[in-house]
Symmetry: none
Subunit: 394 residues, 2 copies
DNA sequence: GCCAAATTTGAATCGATAG
DNA sequence: ACTATCGATTCAAATTTGG
């Protein structure tokens, strides 16, 4: 349970709902600056075509699964399973589903920034079509991610394995897009300092989180858990980023985006879903900046030159550096290079040379003698960074 | 360890190796009764075309994955990863891979009995192509099954999630094939009387099971674990059934089939792989008829990430954690890290930092306020474990 | 011989930047 | 588009080496 704090009740005035004309048929034009924190009622391809190219940082899509249910399914006690039988999940054949998929993925790709990524969730009914078309359109798959459900619906007929997972495909806009957002360090720190895997274990959406009408019927048949979206947004976006969800449904993406201080655009063709999403998001309290700011990573830390350690005397010119087991050693020169026999070069080059390797991280490899023990030169780099931060008033 | 029993040492006289003419180009004809317990050296499409239609009970296929590796990958210690760079995994583009896939799947479909099923394993590189083509050819997908690896290769660059699983697609010959084999009760009985799920946790193939040459080099780059094949054969075939593997490789399918008293046909185009498979299978001791039952693995999967407690709201992002005597405190961030002043890191790292210690068990150290009192976060971890066990039906 | 420590390895579409 | 440089990056399990 989340409790309200001071300021919690302020309304999200920035939430807008844009409506297409009745019928919601194709209607291009628009292409101003992309709206932020908006729900658009309309067809997703037409509405994406109205957004400016290269404007969103992340796409999360939960498209129709193209379930092929021919008969009603009943439980062993003869009660009826409330299956997905909505019009939006009816496709005549694979060709039609493929054409639909190609259209919305192409539209999504246009509005993605060059370094944006896309996450599409699906089941075996549709995910192979989606994955193939993603590849055909030039997307570059980064991972397929398995959402393992702690509490899946059992297989009542006993003719298959319990369908206990869904699959997400995470893809960059293209093979050359190397600068995509992946908050590796944050995910690792949140996972007992162990790198995050491609299989995620999470419960399905139930209980108080599941939207229901007054009669207790679920508002949307495939509402995704907020925990799933939270992990997606934390992994592949930063605070302030713009997240597009072309199949907004009950608005889980918007609710989590607002809580994590991302902006969102949700496109939904059913006005009643859009209304439910709007009310839901309005009740969300964004987290404090501090709770969602990007964790600093080693990648974006201040660079320290080994030469500056020598200049300041932290490591003395003329002393010797060793590897952790004293199998190799080298001489520190006044200009911040090392000498090993006739060879002179950077801490990395000489580290690689003495080991006969193509490369080496000299910061991790070399140590100096302090009080009889060996101390990694990386310790002195960390000290230098700390004093730099202090000097900067942090 | 399997011990030899009376009659155990009889040689598998029925193992035959059939060879195509040199070059192994297309060579139809044949179509007598299907061979049993045979390894055929040749191209899989041509060799399948020589088998009679409707003759096999199960197809297991581990086709080339179409990896598209451009550069060498080295570990942090500069050792080189032995990547798959074999000729059989070279395709110029997706179109060529698709044509190849369509050809072998169509050939396999012809030789399947009406109620036969097929299992194809792959990774995100190829599985979406395979799944789409299966559907296009009229196969009816029954499940996608996730093989979760207990010991996957880590992601060395920190740019993606650890690729910790592979995907199998299990499909019937067509939508109308209702009489396929699925040993539901056996799987359930072997799984603590709990329905078998679509996610399987198994180690990769290492140790004594991994075939190696005299120099210690692995015989085949992608040898699958026998436990995986055993579960497939137990689930989708019966003793005496004929199992076809068109990409036989090191012969895992044949070895497990022989042990579980199924017959097999293995097609392999590389004579040296076929020879290794033949020797391997000859050493396998078939189980007693009654012993052909299930040995399920339920491994400890108790690891709970602090991030998952935050995602599910058990611990709220934005709240504060304290040590038992409230001498230290930190802020819970949405990604499951803690913030103490400017420092951000895991529960362990920040616990160590605030105490000025080199290490700290964050689970034991940190507490949250609940009803005015402090509760150890380890209590919530224990709760999460308990509900996991419950969800697993234990 | 036994236990501890060190080493090896696995289907991988795995950098950024300056010049 | 290319090269050279800097320096960032790993988990589980089996096997080998050392004490």
């Amino acid at each position: 349970m989340r409790t309200l704090r001071a300021g919690a009740s302020r309304l999200p005035a920035q939430i807008q709902v844009v409506r297409t004309g009745a019928g919601g048929t194709t209607r291009p034009a628009a292409i101003g600056p992309a709206p932020r924190d908006a729900i658009v009622v309309g067809e997703c391809v037409a509405e994406m075509d109205r957004l400016p190219a290269g404007s969103v940082d992340l796409v999360f899509a939960d498209p129709p699964y193209n379930l092929q249910l021919e008969n009603a399914l009943s439980r062993p006690d003869q009660s009826l399973v409330d299956a997905v039988d909505d019009d939006w999940d009816k496709f005549v054949d694979f060709a039609e589903y493929d054409a639909f998929t190609r259209a919305w993925l192409a539209a999504a790709r246009r509005v993605m920034k060059p370094n944006a990524t896309i996450v599409v969730i699906g089941s075996y009914h549709n995910i192979f079509r989606v994955g193939s078309i993603l590849q055909d359109l030039g997307f570059w798959i980064l991972n397929d991610i398995v959402w393992r459900k702690t509490n899946p619906m059992p297989n009542f007929r006993g003719r298959r394995f319990t369908n206990a997972h869904e699959t997400m495909i995470w893809a960059a806009r293209g093979q050359d897009a190397k600068g995509y957002t992946f908050n590796y360090e944050a995910l690792k720190a949140g996972n007992d300092d162990c790198q995050a895997r491609s299989d995620w274990l999470l419960p399905i959406c139930t209980g108080g989180e599941r939207l229901k009408d007054k009669a207790g019927r679920k508002t949307h048949p495939t509402q995704k858990p907020e925990a799933l979206l939270a992990r997606v947004l934390i992994a592949a976006s930063n605070a302030g980023d713009l997240v597009l969800d072309p199949f907004f449904g009950s608005g889980t993406t918007g609710a989590v985006a607002r809580r994590l201080r991302r902006s969102y655009i949700g496109i939904e063709r059913d006005p009643s879903y859009a209304a439910a999403a709007r009310a839901r998001i309005a009740a969300v309290e964004p987290l404090d900046d501090e709770a969602v700011a990007i964790a600093p990573t080693r990648r974006n830390e201040q660079r320290i030159a080994f030469a500056s350690l020598v200049e300041t005397g932290v490591v003395a010119a003329g002393e010797r550096v060793f590897d952790a087991r004293r199998r190799h050693c080298a001489l520190v020169r006044a200009d911040g290079t090392l000498a090993a026999g006739p060879a002179i070069g950077s801490i990395h080059k000489i580290g690689a040379l003495v080991q006969g390797l193509p490369a080496c991280n000299g910061w991790a490899f070399w140590h100096v003698e302090r009080g009889g023990d060996l101390t990694s030169i990386d310790v002195f780099r960390a000290d230098a960074r700390a004093s730099l931060r202090e000097a900067a008033g942090l």
